[in-house]
Each structure stands twice: as structure tokens, then as C-alpha cells.
């Protein structure tokens, strides 16, 4: 594969194009409302080394990680149960549609009002917002699980755990990965709103403070830090996982 056609080169090229476009617009607009990349970089370095960026990022990341883990575990379990059990699906479907369509802001406000401005309320609000989307995706996957392969497990008298982990669950991996990817991006956004509304630390809180000072370079510096983390997660976790679960599926014949 040549350098020009490699995916890494393509991604780098796209980043360079976006950065160049941003810088050109900043020069053209020439306003403090649209700071150049240099000013944003200066702000980034300032917040990273002299401000609370690392602390805020670690607090937000912890919240994201906890709520993401809880939401994925609950969503996968409920999704599988609804996918394989028609009766349960009929019973829970309306509730799922209701929760799915409640605005995130309403859930956050209600959690803060009912449980107070505490950490658990913040996590709960994020989880409630995320679980239904995971359930919907996993349920679809569980509905189309290949019965023929399950029959193989039955004929060869595989144990329940072997059937689940080697025959059933691998068929859901693409759905789990898709909901994890979509889930992470959604959870980032909801966590920030949760922090903005009711926490005194984290990136959401920091952004609120920067907004009050109209520090646009600071807001963009935090955004840049955020995007960098997402890219790191994508490259260090999601892509290797993608390769792992795609094993055997995208091979060519010898």
C-alpha cells in the first residue's frame, strides 16, 4: 500500500485540510470571536500547564467511563432479553420508546431535583439517556441471530456458557461496537451538559466558566483536548477491537 492510499495518510490529510480552512477563515474574519489556530494553541498550552485542564479532563473522563460502562452493560443485557423474548419485548417496547424520546435535559433536571446535586444523580442521568439507544441496537442484533448456528450448539450439546460466548455473543459484536461508538459520543455530550448544570468540576463546568468570560480561545482549546482524547480512544481501543471482532469475517480465500 502506497503512502498516498494508506488510511493514516488520508486521515492526516483531512486534519490538515480542516486546520488550513480554519486558519484561512480566522485570517479572513480577523475577529476575537474566531481566534486563529495559534491563539487556540497558546490557550491550550496555558490551560494544560497552568490551568485546571488536566484535572477537569480526568474528572469528566471518569464520569464518562463510569456511565459508559454501566449503560453498555445494562443496555446489552436488556437488549438481548428483549431481542430473544417476544413477550418481554411487547411489554417493554412502549416504555423504551418513551424513555428514548424524553429530552436529555429533562432527565438531567429531574435527576438533580429528585436526588440532589450529587455525583450519583449526574451518573444516573447520563445512564438513563444512554441505555435506551444501546437497547435498541442490541435488540435488533439479538433478533437476527442466526438460528442455524444456534442449532449447531444444540445438536452438539454445548453448555449454556459456551453457546452464549462462542455462538450467540460473537454475532452481536458488530452491534455492540456500533452502539459503543455511538454511545461514547453521546455520553461525552450529555456529561458536559450534566456538569454544566450541576457540578463544580469537569470540562462542562470549565466551559461554562469560559463562556461567562467569552473566552472563545479557551472553549476551543478544551474542544481540541476533547477531540484529541476521542481520537486516542478510537485508535487505541475501537480500531484494534474492530480488527479483533472482524477476525474470520473479512478474510479472503486462499
Amino acid at each position: 500500500m502506497s503512502l498516498l492510499t494508506s488510511p493514516v495518510y488520508g486521515r492526516l490529510l483531512m486534519l490538515i485540510i480542516i486546520a488550513s480552512a480554519w486558519q484561512s477563515i480566522a485570517w479572513f474574519v480577523n475577529s476575537s470571536d474566531f481566534p486563529s489556530l495559534f491563539i487556540v494553541s497558546e490557550s491550550f498550552i496555558y490551560h494544560l500547564f497552568q490551568g485546571d485542564m488536566l484535572v477537569n479532563l480526568s474528572v469528566t473522563l471518569t464520569r464518562v467511563l463510569i456511565s459508559f460502562t454501566i449503560a453498555m452493560i445494562l443496555g446489552v443485557i436488556i437488549g438481548i432479553l428483549m431481542g430473544i423474548n417476544k413477550r418481554l419485548n411487547q411489554l417493554s417496547d412502549t416504555l423504551l420508546i418513551i424513555i428514548l424520546n424524553i429530552p436529555a435535559l429533562v432527565t438531567i433536571l429531574l435527576c438533580y431535583i429528585w436526588f440532589g446535586l450529587v455525583e450519583s444523580a449526574a451518573i444516573l442521568a447520563v445512564v438513563i439517556n444512554k441505555v435506551p439507544t444501546v437497547v435498541v441496537m442490541i435488540r435488533e442484533g439479538a433478533r437476527v441471530v442466526d438460528e442455524d448456528l444456534l442449532n449447531v450448539a444444540k445438536v452438539y450439546k454445548l453448555s449454556l456458557s459456551k453457546t452464549f460466548f462462542y455462538v450467540f455473543l460473537p454475532q452481536l459484536y458488530p452491534y455492540i461496537m456500533a452502539s459503543a461508538r455511538a454511545g461514547l459520543s453521546l455520553i461525552w455530550k450529555i456529561v458536559l451538559v450534566v456538569e454544566l448544570l450541576g457540578r463544580s468540576d469537569g470540562v462542562g463546568f470549565a466551559l461554562n466558566t469560559l463562556f461567562q468570560f467569552f473566552d472563545i480561545a479557551g472553549i476551543l482549546a478544551y474542544t481540541f483536548a476533547f477531540i484529541s482524547i476521542v481520537l486516542v480512544i478510537e485508535n487505541l481501543i475501537f480500531r484494534p477491537l474492530d480488527k479483533l471482532i472482524a477476525r474470520g469475517v473479512h478474510h479472503d480465500r486462499t
Binding site: 449447531v152 452438539y156 474470520g248 473479512h250 486462499t254
Partner: protein, 249 residues
């Protein structure tokens, strides 16, 4: 070795009032290779699924060594489906290991060598040809030391030389493990080549229209003169038997 004694009064399609199998009665002697031939839709696969426990057999008499077969729960069963049905996310070794209760690397290696796939253990099914995948499926069926083997048109849609190779492989494996075999096919020459006895079925609702013992010496040849003569004699006697009828004209 096990003996099967089958008596199916009537078997309905799932969630339907149409009968698929009616008054089917036959037995399979220990170590016997029985082929079942019938037109498409005559319920051959349903019959195998009932024997394997994949289809409900409530109210029918399915006996194994005089005891209720009960979905073959008490007996080791090997089932080669129409499609190989290998787990695409597992390698060939892992697919075979999956059906074994404990790690048995040596056994898997030997089996793969027997089916001509030595050194292919680390390949994923998608990396193998259709014929190779079927060989893995056959190896999987024999990996469990089956007392009963069910084969559902396992060589369907394969080219003639590959199918011939796989038939030879099947004969050798069956000889080594002395299992009772129920083999479903729509290919009469394949049945003559492999089976001790052939059961012919009618159209749906299906019943047995004829049974015949293949009294030819083994090993049999693909398109050998003895086999062809035997087939011609049968077809002269029952020209419409493959369409599910024993009418003479």
C-alpha cells in the same frame, strides 16, 4: 453402537395444520448406513431434525436401543447440515474444539489429517473453499465419537469430483467409527454408492413408498458397472420413484 426404531404417525409443520410426515416407520440397525431419498419438500430434513431434537417429536415413537430417543440427549450425535454451519469467527481448530468437552489438540490434528486439511487448523472458514468447509463440518461431526450420524444432503451443490472425494472420505470415517448413519439425499447414485439400505419417500404429506437393500459389495465405485446396472434395474421397475411414486407408468 445404536439401533433406531422410528414410527411417526403424523408430524405437522410448525404453527400449521398441514401434515409433513405421515405413517413413517423404519429402523436403522447398529452400524447400518441408511439413505433416505425423496422429492424436495417431502420432509427429509424435518425427519432428521426430529431425530436430532431440533424439531418437536412429541407423540411420536422414536426409540434408540429400545429407549426413548429424547432428542438424542443420551447419545453422541454428529450432524452434517446442508450448509457447513461453521462459526465464522472461530478458526478450523476452534470450530472442532468447540464441540469437544476438553482440549484435545492431538485428536483435532488427526481428524484434520484424515479429512485432508492438515496444516489448515489456523485458517478461518472464509479462507477455505466450499469443499474444504464441508470437510471441516464432517470432521466436526466425527470429532464427538458419534454413535449416530445424520447427514442432510452434505454434498449438495458441490462439483462432481469434490463430491466424489468427500463421499470416499465419509465412507472411510464411517468405517473407522462404526456409527449408525441416516443420510438424506436426492441423488440416487450417491445413495447406491454409500448406503446399505435406501428408503424412498413420497411427496408431502410424506410416507415411505419403498425400501430396498443395496446388495452390492463394498467398496463401491463411482459409476461402476455393477452400480449402474443396479440403478437401471431399480429405475426400470419404478420409473417414477424419485418423484415420490411407485406407480409403474
Amino acid at each position: 453402537m445404536i439401533e433406531l426404531d422410528i414410527a411417526i404417525k403424523d408430524k405437522y409443520y410448525a404453527n400449521s395444520t398441514s401434515v409433513v410426515l405421515k405413517d413413517i416407520a423404519f429402523n436403522v440397525k447398529p452400524g447400518e448406513f441408511v439413505a433416505i431419498i425423496g422429492p424436495s419438500g417431502s420432509g427429509k430434513t424435518t425427519l432428521l431434525n426430529m431425530l436430532s431434537g431440533l424439531e418437536d417429536a412429541t407423540g411420536q415413537k422414536l426409540l434408540c436401543n429400545g429407549k426413548e430417543l429424547n432428542g438424542c440427549k443420551e447419545y453422541q450425535l454428529g450432524y452434517v447440515f446442508q450448509q457447513p454451519r461453521l462459526m465464522p469467527w472461530l478458526t478450523v481448530n476452534e470450530n472442532l474444539q468447540l464441540v469437544l468437552p476438553t482440549a484435545q489438540e492431538q485428536k483435532i490434528e488427526t481428524l484434520l489429517a484424515q479429512v485432508g486439511l492438515a496444516g489448515k487448523g489456523d485458517y478461518y472458514p472464509k479462507q477455505l473453499s466450499g469443499g474444504m468447509q464441508r470437510r471441516v463440518a464432517i470432521a466436526r461431526a466425527f470429532a464427538v465419537n458419534p454413535e449416530l450420524i445424520l447427514l442432510d444432503e452434505p454434498f449438495n451443490s458441490l462439483d462432481a469430483p469434490t463430491a466424489a472425494k468427500l463421499r470416499l472420505l465419509l465412507v472411510n470415517l464411517c468405517k473407522s467409527c462404526e456409527s449408525s448413519v441416516v443420510f438424506v439425499t436426492h441423488d440416487l447414485s450417491e445413495a447406491i454408492n454409500l448406503a446399505d439400505r435406501i428408503i424412498f419417500m413420497s411427496n408431502s404429506p410424506s410416507s415411505i413408498i419403498h425400501q430396498v437393500t443395496v446388495d452390492l459389495p463394498k467398496p463401491r465405485k463411482e459409476c461402476g458397472s455393477l452400480e449402474l446396472t443396479w440403478q437401471a434395474k431399480l429405475m426400470n421397475q419404478y420409473p417414477h420413484i424419485l418423484s415420490g411414486s411407485v406407480a409403474s407408468s
